[in-house]
């Protein structure tokens, strides 16, 4: 049972604040670090992996400082996002080298076990330079698993994987989490995180925006006011009919756009209401478009909440 503690950590690069006063504990099980690109996920993972010093605050592994402490790597397995990985070796040589670098008593057996875990035995004698992105990702996994670490840190592990590889990796990470290991992975895709993580930490613009069970996060994300732009054959009548329902909070008649700006507070009910009301009143809908569905706006709503 290993816990990584991030305590009042900030990190800035020159004038740019990448991580702003974040405090979180990552415990056993699978945790997803969710946030849009540039939110500070990699910065956090680099600090947890000992490749970046916090500007202020502490990052510890079961109480031991991670920065400048090589001993923490006995219990940390790292899967970096970058692709550089001794392309001139075969997959097997690479994983074996990692086992040797860990000083394992039987590096050969450990390497075989790790390669079997990620199902890469079939290509283990090929040079890494010939691997596809998904294969590289799996060999990286094998190299991180070779010493059976209690903590696994993965930076955007699903990037560039095809759906089948994605499912395989998710399955593997789930098993690792079920074994009681501390698994942390970063992603900017909500669906990915929600399928895999039992616990989610959301970072936005360097700040810790939300933390909790994926259902809570999902609710926070779907329960926020949704904004729509609607054009119809009779905007005024449609507005009158819609505002009568509890699922809408505000409607504005936008004269320059010749459209309705609708703020819905019950997303599901509103999406059923709109077509029904229009049909009953004989109004034709020309356009219904969500005006703030970008991931960034979802996240920024979370930060404000």
């Amino acid at each position: 049972m290993t816990t990584i503690s991030i305590d009042h950590v900030s990190r800035w690069f020159g004038n740019v604040v990448a991580v702003n006063d974040v405090t979180m504990d990552i415990g056993p099980g699978v945790t997803g670090l969710l946030g849009p690109n540039g939110a500070g996920k990699s910065t956090l993972i680099n600090m947890m992996g000992g490749f970046l010093a916090p500007s202020t605050g502490t990052v510890t592994l079961d109480g031991a400082t991670i920065w400048r402490n090589e001993q923490v790597y006995r219990s940390i397995g790292l899967v970096p996002e970058r692709e550089g990985m001794y392309d001139f070796l075969t997959g097997k040589e690479f994983v074996l080298a990692n086992a040797e670098l860990h000083g394992l008593p039987d590096p050969g057996a450990a390497a075989r076990r790790a390669l079997a875990t990620v199902e890469m035995e079939y290509a283990q004698d090929r040079k890494i330079s010939t691997y596809s992105k998904g294969m590289r990702q799996r060999v990286k996994m094998a190299s991180a698993l070779v010493h059976e670490p209690s903590v696994l840190l993965l930076d955007e592990p699903f990037n560039g994987m095809d759906p089948r590889q994605r499912l395989q990796l998710m399955d593997l990470l789930r098993r690792m989490g079920a074994d009681g290991r501390t698994v942390l992975f970063s992603s900017h895709i909500l669906e990915e995180v929600e399928q895999l993580a039992h616990h989610i930490e959301v970072v936005v613009a360097g700040r810790h925006a939300a933390s909790g069970d994926f259902r809570e996060i999902r609710r926070l994300m779907t329960d926020r006011p949704h904004r729509y732009l609607v054009r119809s054959s009779d905007d005024r009548q449609l507005a009158a009919a819609l505002i009568a329902d509890a699922s809408t909070a505000g409607i504005e008649l936008d004269w320059t756009e010749r459209a309705l700006r609708i703020q819905a507070i019950d997303f599901r009910r509103f999406t059923e209401l709109l077509p029904r009301v229009a049909k009953e009143a004989g109004i034709r809908l020309y356009e219904v478009s969500p005006s703030d569905e970008s991931l960034e706006s979802v996240f920024s709503y979370l930060v404000a909440a």
Binding site: E70, A97, L101
Partner: protein
């Protein structure tokens, strides 16, 4: 020393393209030496000129740049160094291992060919071959350490290294007398001066000064590289 780190470093260093570069210069030196000997016969002062000018002045530093920066620079550039650093191995051990590999490669591709070229030019006459062989070995050690540090601290290590090797060591070192005291080439020449027969080799630095400076530079740069690697920050990640 860590055998796996050494193996990975050596394999990385002796990739096909770099090996061709590493082989080209010593082959050129030996061909020139054989040709000079065949065309104008044995002349020890010509031998000393070729060995100090081309071998010590140009070839050893260039091979040193390739081996020293190549032992660590590419791994830092492409991020694969993570796989070495995220291990329970002290960073100074990694630096020391890489230094030993870089020294071996520089000695093999620069110092040994210098000795062979010396033999081709002058045979065993006036201990010229052995003097320059040992001088080249000593400078291989210093260059490997200096350029390994460069490989750790800058992404443009090869360019900076070549500029240093050619401008500082080659040009300023032979024009400005103050610069000579701080030139690896001059330090190794003072070693050659001591070993070879009197008057064959000429150096501007006293042997004790040269040896002390050489040791200080080698140990200092290696220690510093170890410290830099301890706080290596992985930049360039989106």
């Amino acid at each position: 020393m860590h055998p796996t780190v050494a193996r990975l470093t050596l394999k990385g260093l002796l990739g096909r393209r770099r090996t061709i570069l590493l082989v080209a210069l010593p082959v050129l030196l030996i061909v020139i030496s054989v040709a000079v000997r065949a065309l104008s016969g044995q002349d020890d002062s010509t031998s000393a000129d070729i060995l100090s000018g081309f071998a010590l002045g140009t070839m050893v530093p260039i091979i040193g740049v390739m081996a020293g920066t190549g032992a660590i620079g590419p791994e830092i550039d492409d991020g694969s160094i993570v796989y070495l650093l995220a291990k329970p191995i002290t960073r100074p051990t990694i630096v020391l291992t890489k230094l030993v590999v870089a020294i071996c490669v520089t000695v093999a591709f620069a110092a040994v060919p210098t000795f062979i070229a010396g033999l081709a030019l002058s045979g065993t006459s006036q201990r010229i071959a052995i003097a320059f062989g040992i001088a080249a070995t000593a400078s291989s050690v210093a260059y490997a350490a200096i350029f390994l540090l460069l490989g750790v601290v800058t992404r443009h290590a090869v360019v900076v290294g070549l500029v240093y090797a050619l401008v500082w060591e080659g040009l300023l070192g032979s024009l400005i007398s103050g610069a000579k005291t701080l030139s690896v080439q001059q330090w190794s020449l003072s070693l050659a001066e001591k070993i070879a027969a009197n008057g064959v080799v000429d150096s501007d630095v006293g042997l004790p000064t040269a040896l002390v400076l050489m040791v200080v530079v080698t140990v200092g740069t290696t220690w510093f590289a170890g410290q830099k690697l301890r706080s290596l920050t992985l930049a360039g990640e989106e």
